[in-house]
Amino acid sequence: MGKEKYEESSSDEEVNSSSDVVEASSDEEVESSSDEVEASSDDVESSEDESSSDNEKVEESDSSEDEVAPRNTVGDIPLVEWHKDEEHIGYDIKGRKIKKQPRKDKLASFIEGADDPKNWRKIYDEYNDEEIELTKDEIKIIQRVISGRTPHAEVNPYEDYVDWFEYEDKGHPLSNAPEPKRRFIPSKWEQKRVANLVRKIRAGLIKVSDQNKEEEHNVYSLWTDDTDSVENKKRGGYVPAPKPKLPGHEEAYNPPVEYIPTAEEINSYELMYEEDRPKFIPRRYLNYRSVPAYDKGVKESFDRCLDQYLCPRTRKKRINIDPESLKPKLPSRKDLRPYPTTCYLEYRGHMGPVNCISVDPSGQWLASGSTDGTARVWEIETGRCLKIWEVGEVARQICWNPSPDRPILAVVLEYDVLLLNSGMGDIDIQTKMKELLHISEPGATEDAGDSKSAVTWIQHEKHDGIRMKHFKAVSSIEWHFKGDYFTTVVPSGDSKAILLHQLSKKHSETPFRKLGIPVTAVFHPSKKKFFVATKKFVHVYDLSKVEKIQKLETGVREISSISIHPGGENIIVGSKEGKMCWFDLELSTRPYKTLKVHSKDITRVTFHRTYPLFASASDDCTAYVFHSTVYSDLNQNPLIVPLEILRGHKPEHGRGVLDCKYHPRQPWLFTAGADSIIKLYCH
């Protein structure tokens, strides 16, 4: 209670701060305190007042506990122990004893407490030996403290912070030392530095920013007369950027109508690949004012920049040549006449593609074999079909015997080779032929141990000839120029692939072993040489020694046919990819010339026996006629001139011309087509 009062009074005093008011307030205090405390003398109270007033004057703390001076002054001693037997509890500020209050017995105090409703807020102060009744405010304070809040409700713990001092713009001298002299005189070093800068600016070493701006237009005559003449050449290898393409009519704002693509064409551009699509589509504006800004202008300029610094540059020779000048200078065709040029005769009669033809050495008769199972003989000059043999199988190859007194035809069927008497010539020859083509005892030929299983010579009853039965399919046949020997090729025959036969003795043998898969084999026209073409190579054998002399590398994918120049030193090889190789045996084992002639397989190449001509026939329905002069001078290379392209055959099942042969004496060419026609081309 008392403390509260003090507080109140102290607050008053703070406001008024006059001693008179202090007196008056202290009087009130006395009255109020006398109510509570019975045994308190006036002196004590007055002294209390003084002390409290003193306190208040010195300190201005707001903690109420500190400012109230306790009545007892004994200090912090164990009161209960020391003053247990004494009558006083201690001494007041003036040294007088403070007497103990008379002890109430428990009953009395209980009754008192039970009567008094305020009993619960009374507490006993042992130190001062009195009972204190807490006011409502004090209770509140206690409750707030218990609940952990600030004791006084009116106190705002989070008040805005107000600085106690104004420190900004206030000197805060750390030192009281007097200002030094150097603060009052100009700096020597600064002066030096400035002088240095001034000197530099004057010398032009430092440029003041304003000067820079003035010098924007410093252009001068860069190219003087002496720079033009000086050896001031560009470094080597400088390539100037190519100039951009100049615009054509189509880029005009108003191009001629023909330069503007139609709507369908523009639509078709959409279907193109992005790269192929035209970059610029011409448009027509009817007047200049309607031309809009070009939206790709900046982009194109940028692209040009990129090209200039990113694109590698090289000097490239722009070839501006007349295509005609590329063509080789060939001798005139007129000088190389005669050669076959136009179709003169057609031999019709075969019912299927004519696989093979052959011309009689006398030049009167033409033999042909076809897929329709017949072999025929024609009279060349009239086109009359003289003879027909029904061989019953596909005639793969047909070949006249080159000897004029042996008019024998060799026809290759699937497994058989038929040697037929053509029936030409006078009676003497006919009788000879009948003898020759007669096999008396069937087993006579079987004395050759190796070939007995490979070939069997049998008399053919129906056509009055010889039937040679091979063990596997035969692909080609070729006579020796004397007409007694001939060779057949059995591609799948392994070591017995090449067979040599002697007609007079009806004897066969297989002198060559270990080849690849042979395609065809031919005799040398005059010497004892033998050529075997495998898939990619041509092997040259010496027949007398039976050994390999040369191996020609054609470089083509697959050989289809081969022909020997009548001189014997040059051969041509036709391949299935349409290439033709000319070999000069004395020059090299590689082709002297490779001609890409046909677009499809070459079926046959052939030399003329007397004229300097050769020809090739192909499945692309054409036959080419070439001129070829072979010089006797070894230093001179053969001259090959393409002369004529012969057309006329029609394609049938993807095949065109199947065979071609020259006439033995005239510059005429026979071609056999898949359209079952044989044609004769004359000069």
Partner: protein, 607 residues
């Protein structure tokens, strides 16, 4: 055995590896970033090469090692390094909020000059002129970009580009060296001939340009930096060659009216005619003072200003004017026939540009061909009401008030006249009409194999103009238009007559052919047989029209001949031959397509 590409230690590289270096290695070698390297390459004009063998792979860029060592010795490299260091300082200062220091450093940014580089790249002036195409195109493009602060390009540079382009145009116009012009969709192409070099450049249309995002302006600006400097020096040299001070000082009043080009013209003209016209200037100024007090400040003489004078002076003193004109003519010695031709094309003709017409282009072209031009606005040489105006260039559907004394033509007329080098009849270019097709002067029609119809008419006009020598306009410049008009009319009549004759001849030929064919059919000759006959016939006859008809059906004989020759060619030659054939065929196809379209178009028009 050592590996295939083994090189003994200490042995130098050989072959391509010694001659070329990849880009990555080059940047490492120079110790620069890729951006700096790019900048250096652009400024020094160094470009990638194609080594014979790409020893480090196909996808890499190779530079010549010599070029790179050349770069390594470049002082600019050091300058760029300084600049980078300086930029770092500025950045640091800014980061420390030391505004003052940053500003000071920014003001003292190290600069470099490109003049030495230009001399190095173009040792002679002709070299520079030869490479000026890209430079001019770029500068003109940037001159047309919006000069807006905050865009990616500094306003200062755009203004500089504008200045440079105007200076260039003024020079070309003054020396009458413009040769060809062409309005394309992309802009206007000009071709000038300076010191024997043909210089072609493109200016965008005078419309707002589109700045796209897929463009790296850093690269373009680096190029521009070089081009600006180059064009500055070139202009200096050119201006010096005609005795005009460079950089020009312009009349600020005209500059303010956005007629810089005109101001430049006046300046250039003044400069070059100063000496010979000195004595004249005194007398004429006196006259002017007499006649008019409020004549504006420019007192100097020029043939352009003569128009003004003429407007204000009464026409009783044509003598003085003519003398002036002669003076300005005599002062430069023209050796070139072409220049004289260009100079006199629009001579003594007055043009007036309407508001809607692209002023800058025409203001450049017409004086370049000797014409006098004015436009609507302040500070113009003469007004629209001037009686002497021969042609008014308009580009609007209808014309309100018409002066009978002048032609109203569309802008294309000027361009076509310039390309044809004759004054074309203005009838087809009248207001509101669809003008005849605009043809590119850069195409050689004969080489291309197709001549558009209008090109033929122009050719005929040219031929007729050459035959009857252009009657020079009389001294009395009262009716200038009339003689021109007469010529044009005459020319027009002749062309029409020619065309009619041509038509008749063609018809006759067709008829004859038809009859012949009928006869042949009657007699039973096959088509292929006729072909050979026809060939011989045609070779005898002189008619050119039949030529393509004969060529189109390919005779097998000819083919055979080709095949025969082709057989004997080596593979390489055959490939080349075939490639040439293909390209020729492509050309033919193109021409055939054009003809087909033309035929269809004319058919639809008539039908």
């Amino acid at each position: 055995m050592p590996p295939k590409h083994y090189r003994a230690p200490g042995k130098k590289k050989e072959g391509n590896a010694a001659k070329y270096i990849t880009r990555t290695k080059a940047t490492k070698y120079l110790q620069v970033s890729l951006n700096t390297f790019r900048k250096l390459c652009i400024l020094k004009g160094i470009f990638p090469r194609v080594p014979k063998k790409k020893f480090e792979g196909n996808h890499k860029t190779y530079y010549s090692l010599k070029d790179i060592t050349f770069l390594a010795h470049e002082p600019l490299l050091e300058k760029l390094r300084h600049k980078r260091a300086h930029e770092k300082k500025v950045k640091k200062a800014k980061a420390r909020k030391n505004k003052e220091l940053a500003e000071r450093l920014l003001n003292r940014m190290p600069t470099y000059k490109l003049d030495r580089l230009i001399l190095e790249r173009y040792p002679t002036f002709v070299d520079a002129l030869r490479d000026l195409d890209d430079c001019l195109t770029m500068v003109h493009l940037f001159a047309s970009l919006p000069a807006v602060e905050g865009e990616r390009i500094q306003v200062k540079r755009i203004h500089n580009c504008r200045r440079l382009s105007h200076e260039w145009q003024a020079f070309i116009s003054r020396t009458h060296s413009l040769r060809k012009t062409f309005i394309s969709v992309k802009g206007i192409y000009y071709q000038a001939e300076v010191q024997g070099q043909k210089i072609t450049w493109l200016t965008p249309h005078a419309l707002q340009q589109v700045l796209t995002d897929d463009v790296d302006f850093n690269i373009m600006l680096t190029f521009l930096e070089f081009y600006e400097t180059l064009l500055g020096f070139v202009n200096f040299k050119l201006y010096n060659s005609i005795n005009v001070k460079y950089p020009p000082i312009l009349d600020p009043r005209l500059e303010a009216l956005a007629a810089e080009l005109y101001a430049l013209f006046r300046y250039v003209a003044t400069g070059s005619t100063r000496k010979p016209a000195e004595n004249q200037s005194i007398s004429s100024t006196e006259e002017k003072k007499d006649s008019d007090e409020k004549m504006d400040t420019c007192v100097n003489e020029s043939d352009l200003q003569l128009a003004q004078l003429q407007h204000q002076l009464p026409s009783n003193e044509p003598g003085a004017l003519m003398q002036l004109l002669e003076d300005s003519n005599n002062d430069d010695d023209d050796v070139d026939q072409d220049t004289i031709e260009c100079k006199t094309l629009f001579k003594n003709l007055k043009f007036f540009l309407s508001r809607e017409v692209p002023r800058e282009a025409l203001l450049f072209i017409i004086p370049a061909f000797g014409g006098v031009v004015s436009w609507e606005g302040e500070g113009t040489p003469f007004e629209e009401t001037d009686e002497d105006i021969a042609y008014q260039i308009v580009d609007r559907p209808t014309q309100g008030h018409k002066f009978l004394s002048r032609h109203y033509v569309q802008p294309q007329w000027v361009f076509d006249c310039v390309n044809a080098r004759i004054i074309l009849p203005a009838d087809a270019y009248m207001v509101g009409m669809v003008p005849p097709p605009h043809l590119s002067p850069f195409v050689d029609d004969e080489a291309e194999g197709y001549m558009p119809e209008y090109a033929e008419t122009i050719k005929q006009l040219q031929a007729t103009a050459k035959k009857n020598v252009m009657p020079l306009p009389d001294l009395d410049n009262q009716d200038l238009a009339d003689p021109q008009n007469l010529i044009a009319d005459g020319v027009m009549d002749r062309t029409q007559a020619n065309e009619a004759a041509e038509e008749r001849r063609k018809l006759q030929l067709l008829e004859k052919q038809y009859h012949d064919e009928l006869k042949m059919e009657m007699s039973g000759i096959t088509y292929s047989a006729t072909l050979s006959n026809k060939k011989s016939e045609n070779s005898g006859s002189e008619e050119m029209q039949h030529k393509d008809e004969v060529v189109v059906p390919v005779s097998t004989e000819k083919n055979d001949e080709d095949d025969r020759a082709k057989l004997y060619m080596s593979r390489k030659k055959r490939g080349l031959y075939e490639a040439i054939e293909i390209s020729n065929q492509r050309k033919k196809d193109k021409v055939a397509l054009l003809k087909e379209r033309k035929r269809k178009a004319s058919a639809s028009k008539s039908g």
